[in-house]
Every structure is written in C-alpha cells, then in structure tokens.
Symmetry: C2
Subunit: 389 residues, 2 copies
Amino acid sequence: MKDFIYNIPTKVYFGRDQLSHLGEELKSFGNKVLLTYGGGSIKKSGLYSRIVEEINKAGLELYELNGIEPNPRVTSVARGADLCKEHDIDVILAVGGGSVIDASKFMAAGRYYDGDYWDFHGKKVPIEKALPLVTVLTLAATGSEMDTGGVITNPVTHEKIGRQADVLRPKVSFLDPTLTYTVSRYQTACGSADILSHLMETYFSREPGMYLTDSVLVGLMKTVIRYAPVACEEPTNYEARANLMWASSWAINGFTRIDKGPNPWSCHPIEHELSAFYDITHGLGLAIVTPRWMRHFLNKDTLERFVQFGIEVWEIDYNLPKKEIALEAIRCLEDFLFKDLALTDNLSDLGIDDEYFEIMAERVSNYSGAARFQDMSKQDVLDILNASL
Amino acid sequence: MKDFIYNIPTKVYFGRDQLSHLGEELKSFGNKVLLTYGGGSIKKSGLYSRIVEEINKAGLELYELNGIEPNPRVTSVARGADLCKEHDIDVILAVGGGSVIDASKFMAAGRYYDGDYWDFHGKKVPIEKALPLVTVLTLAATGSEMDTGGVITNPVTHEKIGRQADVLRPKVSFLDPTLTYTVSRYQTACGSADILSHLMETYFSREPGMYLTDSVLVGLMKTVIRYAPVACEEPTNYEARANLMWASSWAINGFTRIDKGPNPWSCHPIEHELSAFYDITHGLGLAIVTPRWMRHFLNKDTLERFVQFGIEVWEIDYNLPKKEIALEAIRCLEDFLFKDLALTDNLSDLGIDDEYFEIMAERVSNYSGAARFQDMSKQDVLDILNASL
C-alpha cells in the first residue's frame, strides 16, 4: 500500500432530469462554448436540440465541431484546438462517448500549445494548462467522463497512445442513463467489456493496495457482470444502464488505483496495437485478449490472485483446489464475454492475422513494465497475440 | 434510485509522509491560520511541533485555539468564531478527531454570522459561507474529514444536534494512519463502531439505491469488521489503521448515500440524546443501541434487508431459513461489538437509567421520519432505550 493523493473533484449530475443545470455550469466558465460531438446520432435522438436550447437559454455563444471518429485521431484534436484558439473559446462541451471526450481533452490542452498536437502523445510534452471541459456522456465504457486520460490515434504512424494529466479531468459531467437506451447490443457489450477490463487491470496488480479498495473493485466487477447482460437484453432497463454508467466512471477515475503505486496495465497496451492497426472496437479487442493474457500468466507466482478473483468475483467454491478455482475463474470470464455478451472470441473472425504481430509485440514490450503485475517480454506478447487468433 | 449530484472535492493526502505538503496547501487559502485542537495529546506526540514547523516554514501567521472537548460545545464554537473575526483569519487548520473538526466547521461558518452561534443547530439558519477548512486527522471515526456535517452540543439545553452544509466540507485533509497508532483500544473500538454505524444506517434505507453503491457499502462494512479487531490488538498495524482511516472517510462522505434520496438515520438520533444527557462516547452509544434497534424493527417488511445483510456482510449460509439468517446477522453484529471489540453492551453499566427516556423519546420522535427505513414513534424509541438498559 503506497502513500497517495486523492483528488477527484469532478462534479457529476446523475440521473434522468439534470440537463437543466447545463447552462449554469457552462456559464461559470465563460461565455464561448465549443460543442464537440461525433456523428449524427445526437441529432437523431433529440439530444443535440436539447443541449442547444440550454446553451441559448443561458445566453452563451455556441461554436461546433463534429465528426470526431471512434478511435479519435490527432487530426480531430487539431481541428478542435485550432478552433479554440481562433475563437478564444472559454469552455469545451463534449457530448458523446469516450472518443469524443478523449479528443476534447487534448483540444482543451492544445488551446495552449503551439507545436504539433501529436507531441502530447508522441513526445509526451508537459500538459499543465487546459480549457475547462464539461461532458454529457452517451456511452458507458471508457470512464473518460471522470478521469485524467485520453487515447489518441495517429493513422499515419499506426500509433494509438494514451496520455494522462490532472488538468484534463472534466470539471463537470452529466450522466443520464436514459441517453444510453439507444446504444446497440454490440456497443453495450463492448463498453461493458471495457469497464470490466479497467477493473481487472487494476485488480491484478503487483502491489495489492488496501483491502478496502480491493473490496470496492470486487463490488464494481460484480456490478458489471450482473448488469451488462441485462442491458444487452433490455436496452431501456434504467437500473442496468444506471449501474453500468456509474461503474464506468468509478472503474477508472483513480479511486481504486491510487493506493497501488505505479501499476502499468497489460491488456490495454496490447489492444491499443490491435486497434491502431485494424481500427477495431476497443472493448472487443480487450475481451479477446484478456483471457489469453490470463492463461499465459497463470503460474505459481500469480495463482493466489487468480484464486481470489475466482472466489470473490465469480463466487467459486473456495473448497476446490486452487488451480481449479483459477482456471474456473478464467472460464467464467470467457463465458461472460463470449456467451452472455455474445462478443466475438477471436481475432481471425475480425479479419486479423499475424502480419503485424512482430511490430506490435516489439512496441508493447518497449513500454516500461517494471512494476507490472507480470513483466511482458516481446515473446510473451507474441504468444498472447497468437493465442488470440 | 434517485437522481443525484455527486460533488466531493475534498483533496486527501493519505499516508506516512505527507505533512510536507501542509504549508503549500494552507498558503493557497491565505496567510493567517487558526490552528484548532483538543487536549494536549498532539503536543505529547510531537505532532504539534511538526505542524508548527511546517506553518513557520511556509511563512504563515499562526493563531491557536485549544481545549475543544469531546462532544464539542457551542461555547467552543463561539470562542473560535470570535477569534476568526478578531484576527481576520484566512483558513482554519483542525488537528484532531471528529470533535475538533466538527467544532471547526461551525467556527468557519460563524466567521460570517453575527447572531448566536447555536442558531446554526437550534434554528437551522442558512449556512452559505464559511472559511476554508484544512484537517489533520488523528482518529478514524466520524468521517468529518471529508463530509459536510458536524454535531454540536448545547450543555445548557441538553441538546446535541447535527447540521450539514456544502460549504463546511474540508478543502484538504491529511490522513496519516500512523497518527492513530496511539489511539487507545477503547477509542479504536468506539471509532470503529461509529464507522460501521454510518454504513449500516445507510445500508438500511427504504430506497435501496444502486446495486453498485450497495456493493461498496458491503465492502466498507467488511473492511471495518476485518480490521477493527486487528487495530485493537495491534495498535501499530499500518494495514489495519490505514483501512479503518480510509473507511471512516468513505462511510459518510456522501458517495454511498446520494442515490438513496432522503434517508433519515435511526440510531444516531437516539444516541445523540444519550450523549447529550450523559456525555458518553458516541461510538459506544451507537454500539449499544444498534442491535436493539435491529431486533425491534425486524419484521416481515424488513426481513429481506436483514437477510441480505446476513448473507453479504456476515457471509451466513443463504440456504438457512430467512428468519434465522436475519437473527444470526444481528448476533454476529453483537459478537463483533461486544466480544471482538469488547465494548460495554448495556446502558446500565454506564450509570444510565430511564430517568430521561421520556424526554429523549419525545425529542427523537419529533424529527421528521417519513422517509426513514422504519418510522419511529415515541413508543418505539422508548422500547429501544429500555431494551438497551
């Protein structure tokens, strides 16, 4: 258990009828709002009109940037950051899922940066200043609505890289579970796999942290496992959508991680390579890779953690032999992802072969992994990727 | 599950070696610091010198108020608020447990109030402005280090009343588990009973809220049950002290309560009457009253919640008959409080008789309880008090 600083000041309006507070919150940051979003779904759903109405009612000046893609690109960041400079924007309002929010975070930082915006991810230049960011979430998945990070893709270099900075954390987020009623079964499943992955990446850490945070991690994992299949079957089940949405924020906002010290994740960097090269949905890539990562690293050093995972999260009988509990836990996870959530269980079916595995594995193994749950050599990553075919 | 606003911006420095940040944090609020504390224990332990050193190093102007009593009195609030006015204090630094922090909250508000300071509790005048408050916690119990409330006693009227206001929430809190190493076995037990009570009062609510928050409540309860006896036996066990300290903050900072709507507590108001009349330790009073409250209100309407409490928190076999699970859960709680923590299990042993029960019961039943888990009539409270003798 490490010393830590807890500092998660994001204010969250949660529930069905909170957008009436949007105007006052935006106004507290200034007058010029840049509204960012993805495709046209928020226009179809009526959310766009509702938001514009609130902005007008508050007498704010509205600018817009749309067309932010899934796996958002540095070119989108550049468009937004340039707009912020040109119009001297006071606050960014991101409406969408993790992609829109991630891209908006680096627009907010880009407002104060004069170099190439890819430097944030490529060269890791310092990020010490950013415009305030307000979000309206439409997908429970990445947790970007309450965390300090974002992942941006550079399609030229086939790189997809995450970056964190305190100033990127949204100031205010609006979480209305009913806004996710229209999320497809497939995207609901992928988003849930992403949330669960954040929790598992944190749970499987070398420094176990406090029992308290572990017990919260377990509670959050059980929440996802309980409600993701319900949301897939009954898309307008409020209880399921609400639990998943709040779980997405708490899986990654920092609360469950801060007492563990540096804990580089394992499956996320592998998946980032896959979606950098093949533009697949992040949660799906994680679902495919994670059980393979588990089978690869189940050994006598890690057995105890897998046993706890089995007993606490999957409620497997603790009287069984330890190895059996561990393997059964991985089987339970596979059943959850590939049967309950009906996600594709291999890369081949996504049209992915081993063409770029060497370069992917090389890149992943280059990340510093000294504090990782299990250090990953290039060969480890290759084995995991090949097992995922 | 209700709509809610989540807004818990307290910054927490947690761990062994964080006080070096004290000066910079205080300085961010201004130059004149009022240091508040209780008896002499922080001088004996060396904490006082350490804090004064940090304040001097930061070049701040120091004022002091000591002698804040357990079950802090409105007279202490008055002394502090008057000092704040007289010296135009910029920030209050409360060093101690819940009593010191609670009193300091109302000094911070009193700085901007010209009437009788008891009005905050007696007349419930609005509290919209307060000085910033920084805390250094020395006892894991009330959670005042991260919440918006405080309880003050008026010895003249024998009243002990809680009050909450957003502006009272500490801006920054320093939580160093080693500062609780010197807390006696008895105070450790009472503090742990208080934390557990906050969690149970929230868990037993009419509006069950989200599965997610319930699962966090369960995790926090299990944390207290696991580590309180360890801390009693091994006062310098860091893991135990750290888990209890962080649990104290999260039991009551609002995270586990906001989705439940109004949920007036039950055992706290009864205990407040007891300590208003007899000045007993808050956690001890709660320990004595709570199992009686449970037995009194275990009925066919509440059975299901007690069964869940038994299965989830005490891990009682779910195959048993429901009534049996519920009763066993209460027995487990009694064993925990009166055997593991060795707390006194009745009021008579504290020299309390039924002399003031009528007036206590009258007062408790006057609180609005429409949304309470089980509404309490005067007779209900009398029965619970008599069963506690």
